[in-house]
């Protein structure tokens, strides 16, 4: 029996007169791979931004592992183990590929000035561990040969991988992936899916992802949540959702009856 790691309840977010997210409610089971789909403008990205703390919700609550996070700032949410990616990967271009990954190290005493001065030993040992982990991740994503180069020289696909390596470095329990397949060639997309599936099996990591490629959604996810016009209109297994008339209507429009 799996329990909900993320619980979104009646979240509302408007932009001017537009209700981008309109009383959306859903949950994500721990250890699941859950897809969030819907036509353009359905409110998926806005909802992602609300969950990850980059936008505030006007109403409603978001609970992560039983604690409310809807008032917490983005960095605090990430520290708690809910880490997101962006639609366009945010490579820190004028830093080395290695530094991009090292940056994501958690609870690093060397990131505080008092830690640097008072506990130089602890800083060194944390940094050594971080370097080991970063080397593993870079090797896993075949970026190790570029470790010392500026992240800005990486190709779009490599940046996507770097983004992913960075997220894993942050030791998340729930990963939010914003269109992981967008702008990625099919071979690389395949690779990303396999990483996700393997991580879920090996570490029990939970994934929530927004994706437009429905083949990937049907193949990789355990549950699918469908949004339209700011609301959650359906959820269930990929098979259930595929047969749901409301979903078909949302994507294709309803037949006009005159």
């Amino acid at each position: 029996m799996s329990s909900a790691i993320l619980e979104v309840r009646d979240v509302v977010r408007t932009f001017g007169g537009l209700r981008a997210v309109d009383e959306a409610s859903f949950h994500v089971d721990e250890g699941s791979i859950t897809a969030l789909i819907g036509p353009n403008g359905a409110g998926k990205s806005t909802l992602f931004n609300v969950i990850s703390g980059f936008l505030s919700a006007e109403r409603g609550t978001v609970q992560f592992e039983g604690r409310r996070i809807d008032r917490a700032p983005a960095h605090r949410i990430a520290q708690r183990g809910l880490v997101r990616t962006f639609q366009v990967p945010r490579a820190l271009t004028r830093m080395s590929v290695l530094d991009n990954v090292l940056l994501a190290a958690t609870r690093h005493p060397g990131e505080r000035l008092n830690g640097l001065v008072l506990h130089p030993g602890r800083v060194r040992s944390r940094e050594r561990k971080a370097n080991e982990r970063a080397a593993e991740l870079l090797a896993l994503f075949r970026l190790d040969t570029h470790a010392r180069e500026y992240a800005g020289v990486l190709s779009g696909g490599q940046r996507k991988l770097l983004d992913f390596a960075r997220v894993l470095m942050a030791e998340p329990r729930l990963v939010l992936l914003d269109e992981p397949m967008a702008g990625v060639n099919p071979a690389l997309g395949r690779q990303l899916v396999e990483h996700v599936l393997r991580l879920r099996t090996e570490t029990g990591m939970t994934f929530l992802f927004v994706e437009h490629d429905l083949d990937i959604v049907m193949e990789a996810s355990d549950r699918v949540i469908v949004m339209n016009e700011g609301r959650v209109i359906a959820s269930g297994t990929p098979a259930e959702v595929r047969g749901d008339q409301r979903v078909v209507d949302a994507y294709l429009g309803t037949a006009r009856t005159t």
Partner: protein, 320 residues
């Protein structure tokens, strides 16, 4: 001996370049590493200089302690400035910083009972009572002169540059730590930094405060070098000198700052030797403005042909 060959003149250029190294190093920390557009750096220099002078003259405080108070007060002012403004978008933040420095300058000009007003620190103890705040410094300088067997200009040069280079080394080391890594990530993309659990606001605040401390340190050296100063010494133009130095040297590297400061100092002082036509048509006051034009042209030329500065990396500039 002509000015161009005199040690006194060039050591003066060197001393000022050393002071500007400290001053511009603050901008390098804030902008070069953390991406903060601080156009009010001169305010921190003023706070350092004025706090020291006022505490020595009016409160009879030990000068070294007073200098320390100046630096601490600049840090507090940096925090006070940053708390409400660092959440603003970069351009709005930039505007508030320049307003901050101008507000302080106007306060210093008009609060003459506190600061000596527009006449400067000469009136600190009241009009007609010439006051002095740097006695302790002069006697310290005298000791250095005797121990090293050098003149007062050389002693000052050695002291300023020792402190400046130590500060450059300290900043270089600091930026290699995980703390510096977070700072650079904020310069690159603060949303990415936040998404990885970094408290962007807190780091910006620290960068601003560290830059403020360096500005105040430059301020106390400025006060010691000139023995007397007024609010007009802290006009916004001085902040832009720091920016020129940082751009001249190259962004994101602490060690380029002393080089930028020296090049800037030589260009700035060098224009005084433009005694050939057409410059010889101008009188000396007018010629003083020529250097500003020259500096401006150098910056334009740099932006066109070497936007990365003297030592910056072209490769870094073209990364997206």
């Amino acid at each position: 001996m002509s000015t161009i060959a005199s040690f006194g003149f060039w050591s003066f250029v060197g001393i000022v370049a050393g002071i500007y190294t400290l001053f511009a190093l603050g901008v390098q920390v804030q902008f070069g590493y953390a991406g903060l557009l601080n156009f009010g750096q001169v305010a921190f220099m003023g706070i350092g200089a004025y706090t020291m002078a006022i505490l020595v003259v009016k409160e009879d405080l030990n000068m070294w302690l007073a200098a320390g108070c100046g630096i601490v007060l600049a840090i507090l002012a940096g925090l006070l400035l940053g708390l409400p403004t660092l959440r603003l978008r970069a351009d709005y933040f930039a505007i508030t910083t320049i307003a901050f420095s101008e507000i302080l300058r106007y306060v210093a000009t008009n609060e003459d009972r506190l600061t000596g007003g527009s006449q400067g620190t000469i009136n600190l103890a009241g009009i007609g009572q010439a006051s002095q705040y740097d006695g302790a410094w002069q006697s310290f300088l005298g000791k250095v002169e005797r121990n090293l067997h050098v003149g007062s200009d050389a002693a000052m040069l050695i002291l300023v540059w020792t402190v400046a280079l130590l500060a450059v080394a300290a900043v270089t080391l600091l930026m290699r730590t995980p703390w510096g890594r977070v700072l650079k990530s904020i310069r690159e993309d603060e949303d990415a930094a936040a998404s990885l659990g970094k408290n962007v606001f807190l780091y910006k605040l620290q960068a601003l405060a560290l830059g403020a401390a360096l500005g105040a340190l430059a301020g106390v050296f400025y006060a010691w070098q000139f023995s007397f100063f007024s609010p007009d010494d802290f006009a916004p133009l001085i902040t832009f000198f720091a920016w020129m130095i940082v751009i001249l040297g190259g962004l994101g590297r602490a060690w380029t700052v002393p080089v930028g400061a020296l090049v800037f100092g030589v260009i700035f002082a060098g224009t005084r030797f433009f005694d050939f036509p057409p410059f010889s048509l101008l009188d000396s006051t007018e010629r003083a403005y020529v250097r500003l034009i020259v500096i401006g042209l150098v910056i334009i030329g740099l932006m066109l042909f070497r936007p990365q500065g003297i030592f910056g990396s072209r490769k870094e500039m073209v990364l997206e």
